[in-house]
Symmetry: C2
């Protein structure tokens, strides 16, 4: 029926719309595979298994593949007839154009780059030394390396026994002779790790590997100033939106684990180039000046990045290969830099409380400040820290809150991309929604979901058990039970109603209960009363954008009478930056990792009861519109 166009080698040409990216792939590839090949990041929440229905695309032209069973289940007859397919299921057998809607293309998601910054004394591990040595003569025949280290020792007034890799000894010899013995060298402990033209300053890169994004920051290692920041979606997303899919893929074998590692490693290399390119005067900074890296991420992310065995993270008793800080040569983890740079990966606390959480505690000084504080990083996996420095106590726990807060398992949920509803207010004039980039609404991101549920509860559209009340305006019967109409088709960006369903509300109840019960259990265990808590720090992208009132209203966050609520932004990234420019901060991170006590919530006898109670909405809700003391940075 369709005319298949293939060349002799069986490859076909695909063009992606509206971006215009072209790629040649072998016939029979899925749209998802072709997209990966083209460097595009398509939503594949279920790991490309045809289950989530999120990776919708439209195949244009003559070579539209026949729909598979999964596609018939996920898409309406009309959608299928207009060429809509699932990217993970549709096998392309001829040249085609593929249109990727905004909601499927991951590249546009909003990145959270900034965090609250404690002031840090700059004291980087890597130091710069300007060398001006005499050229060798018959009377002064000291070897190249010793010639340079003698100058170093005489400047530093010590007698260090310097060492270096053979690669660096080679580069030093060459550069010293080319520069007539005037050059800059970089040291780390008693090792020479790099060299470059005389007078160039040392730079470092802090990296936060998140499940959905990788953020990177370029800092001056001498002043601590941030020179540039950028971020990309985590390229592993095409192997599954959630951690588990990726860990399962890595477990398949060495090749697969390498594939996932390379993917992040290449992403970081790309980010380093981008950071250098964004500088006002790119000529002033070369990759030979990037002489230190500091990486954070949750334990799964750092294991996948370092290609460490992650099998232990997949089943009880959930054991990491290592939770210590790891120092590894950049070259060993696929990051090519001209000098023998190390990558420092911050220590973790456990299999589900990773280096990113250590960095969050570090960034907010939870371990060292004088008051009682709670730190919460809400996400698919939520990490919680309770610090009582007066008692030398730092409790940490993690709970799988599920993907509801990231728009997952929510009928019209989506990631924080343009057109996502992020705020909902119910005023005298009725419902008002605020979308990302003020585009016509196409779905709800996490903060919008919370606001929607809070609004339903505060307006009485649901009862304390979360049941939609049939007699309330906006509540109607949908295809799969009750639902509430948020945006009418005529006002939406895709011409369809946007609703929140009874099922969506239940998902939010389960998710918020997991967080609330975990917090409650930690408070009970440590014998801490609500009024003792001085500060509640919300870290991470979701914690930054959620509405604190709404979160308290639905019982996601506790209502603490004496606490200030701080939305700390990307605290993990901030911690990584601090550890990048300060040896002392690296020591503090190791201290945090040793000090922290992991609480296995499932083992706590009251946890299940707390969980059941916490699914309800709190009766003692604050009045709509009252402002709690809160700070945002």
């Amino acid at each position: 029926m369709h005319r298949h166009e293939m060349n002799a080698s069986g490859s076909i040409k695909i063009v992606f719309q509206p971006i215009g990216t072209r790629v040649e792939v072998s016939a029979g590839s899925t749209v998802l595979e072709a997209g990966r090949e083209a460097g595009l990041i398509l939503a594949a929440n279920c790991g490309g298994n045809g289950l989530c229905g999120r990776c919708r695309v439209t195949v244009l032209g003559e070579n539209i593949p026949a729909p598979t069973g999964a596609e018939c289940r996920a898409l309406s007859k009309e959608e299928i007839e207009t060429g809509q397919r699932l990217a993970c299921r549709a096998h392309l057998n001829g040249n085609a154009a593929v249109h990727i809607p905004r909601t499927t293309l991951g590249n546009q998601q909003r990145l959270q780059l900034d965090g609250r910054t404690r002031s840090v004394r700059v004291d980087a591990c890597v130091r710069r030394h300007d060398i001006d040595a005499f050229a060798p003569t018959l009377e002064d025949s000291v070897s190249d390396f010793e010639r340079i280290t003698q100058v170093l020792n005489s400047e530093l007034g010590g007698n260090t026994n310097w060492h270096a890799t053979t690669r660096l000894i080679r580069d030093l010899s060459r550069l010293a002779r080319e520069s007539n013995w005037k050059l800059t060298v970089f040291t780390r402990g008693d090792e020479l790790i790099g060299c470059c033209e005389a007078g160039k300053r040392p730079l470092g890169v802090a990296v936060d590997i998140g499940c959905t994004k990788i953020a990177a920051y370029l800092l001056d290692l001498e002043t601590g100033d941030q020179l540039a920041a950028c971020g990309i979606p985590n390229p592993q997303i095409t192997y599954g939106e959630d951690l588990i899919s990726r860990l399962v893929y890595a477990r398949k074998g060495r090749k697969q684990a390498q594939e996932l590692a390379r993917c992040v490693q290449t992403g970081i290399s790309k980010l380093i180039r981008e950071l250098l390119d964004t500088l006002a005067d790119p000529a002033s900074a070369g990759s030979d000046q990037v002489v230190d890296l500091c990486v954070v991420g949750n334990t799964a992310m750092t294991h996948l990045f370092l290609e460490l065995p992650a099998d232990g993270l997949l089943a009880a008793p959930f054991i990491a290969a290592t939770t210590s800080a790891v120092d590894v040569r950049a070259g060993e983890v696929g990051i090519d830099l001209p000098n023998d740079v190390y990558v420092h990966v911050l220590p973790a606390i456990g299999a589900f409380v990773g280096a990113d959480h250590v960095a969050m505690i570090l960034a907010n000084g939870l371990h060292s400040c004088g008051h009682v504080s709670l730190g919460i990083d809400i996400g698919t996996n939520t990490e919680i820290a309770l610090s009582k420095p007066g008692h030398g106590l730092l409790l940490t726990a993690s709970c799988p809150a599920g993907p509801a807060f990231e728009g997952g398992h929510i009928r019209h949920g989506m990631r924080a991309a343009p057109g996502a509803i992020e705020k909902i207010k119910f005023t005298a004039d009725g419902l008002s929604v605020k979308t990302i980039d003020d585009q016509a609404p196409v779905g709800l991101c996490g903060s919008g979901v919370i606001d929607a549920v809070a609004m339903l509860w505060q307006t009485g559209a649901v009862d304390y058990r979360g049941h939609l009340q049939p007699d309330v305006a906006g509540v109607r019967q949908g295809v799969s039970g009750k639902e509430y109409l948020l945006v009418e088709a005529k006002d939406s960006g895709h011409g369809k109603d946007i609703v929140i369903t009874q099922q969506d509300i239940s998902e939010v109840q389960l998710a918020k209960a997991a967080v609330a019960a975990s917090v409650r259990t930690l408070l009970t265990l440590s014998n801490t009363k609500d009024d003792e808590i001085d500060e509640l720090v919300l870290a991470g992208a979701f914690g930054t954008y959620l509405d604190v009132e709404s979160s308290i209203a639905i019982g996601l966050l506790p209502n603490l009478p004496n606490a200030s609520y701080l939305q700390a932004g990307n605290a993990a990234g901030t911690g990584a930056k601090m550890a990048l420019v300060s040896s002392g901060m690296r020591e503090q991170a190791s201290h945090i990792s040793r000090l922290a006590v992991r609480i296995d919530l499932i083992q706590q006898k009251n946890f299940n009861r707390e969980l059941a109670l916490a699914t309800r909405f709190p009766k003692n809700q604050p009045e709509c519109g009252s402002e709690k003391e809160k700070q945002t940075c």
Copy 2:
């Protein structure tokens, strides 16, 4: 004229006789290239440039290549007619058998493996620890790496912050789970560098990279016992017998430098396998137990091995890239071992006084013993150390003595292979010669050359200027001047006369003068009288086999009234073994490298006068047959 047999791809088949090695090479390859391809080491003293005439072979069969100009100059008409060719010049254009005579095949040379051994306290850098840990449970969810390091710390009673490469963390996780948490780990400083099955002992390999041979020793790192030793000719020989040819080749570019490095690195890997295979119970020792390596060699050899830039060694002011000790991962220098083993290369003193000389000083304790001593390693490049510990003085110098002592530039000279004359005595019954392996004589190796010249001088066949006396029996007129008949054609292994020529005698005079003048200059500089010297240590293969009486007779060695003469064998190898099993010895080696003062002999104003004087034979010669006090080990 010749029928050329080639297959479609233009390759031809060559069989080497009498060994029977077969190889397929492309038509037009030289015999030398085909030999390299087959893994054979053919003598190519001049680096394969058709100059030395040493690489004689006989091409058999129908496809004998036409002789080149160089071959016509180097070979007699008769030899050419019987198929003799130079391996470096003869291009093979069809299938052929090639006969390689004993004198051309480098594989059979005698290796010097043993040296005098000072007693050393065993204190290896790498230590073994047997781990027996509890398996993780829900209640005890410490990560794999910390689980192991916690056991280490509790056993060692410390609180070390252990680190390891990601590769080792990976291997540890796997092995720990496979072995139910009973395993052996190896540490070096605060790094975990390896793991293996429980209860296996740590082994180490000491390597001496010589110009002509590589010797390797397998030692138990806990007892210091030598378990095996073996040696191979240095595979770089096919790139030139002398250092300069190889350095010039390496200077051509990165590829060429890598080629020379790989060649030695592959040789060392091969030696490690051989060492393990020669153990009585090979099952008891696996490559995962080889956890430390210690390497010595002259500065050119260690630079070529480490692929360091060696340009500085080729021209004044002769500067090494580094003279410090280098610690490098085995994997980085092409030695594949299952664990993250380091290679420790001992420090050097200068461009021509290398790590091998430091090892010699270390092995014989010249830097630390109570008396005045001279250490001499005679070779193409001769290194000399004069130690006066009472004055805190360690002077070192090197002199290019030329290849005469290794049989080079001597008409019938050859390396120390079977059939080489190594001893000559003139007794009442006339001349008696002793050959290596008691085979029929085919040439003279270095010690034979010395004995021959000493015999000529002691019997009056030459005068003090080295001139052959025409009226003495045995002296005759040869094709290129006077010569002395040592072995008649009927008694030789190849049916030809073996002679020593006037030119040969001049070569020996120049070589011995270089050594004698160097020693004399060091003594004068340090204001040391002959009778002050307590010990003269002769290191290296040649120093072991030479006759001390003969050497004193011709003035190669000084006649020291109060000194004992010690032939110390392969002292460099011994030093490497000591440094392998003892951290203290590594520190002493660094101390030697810092303490030693290099004397540039050419810069010394009296050196040229001493050199001219020392070409003469000493009139005050000891009586023939008188025995000096001497020790051999």
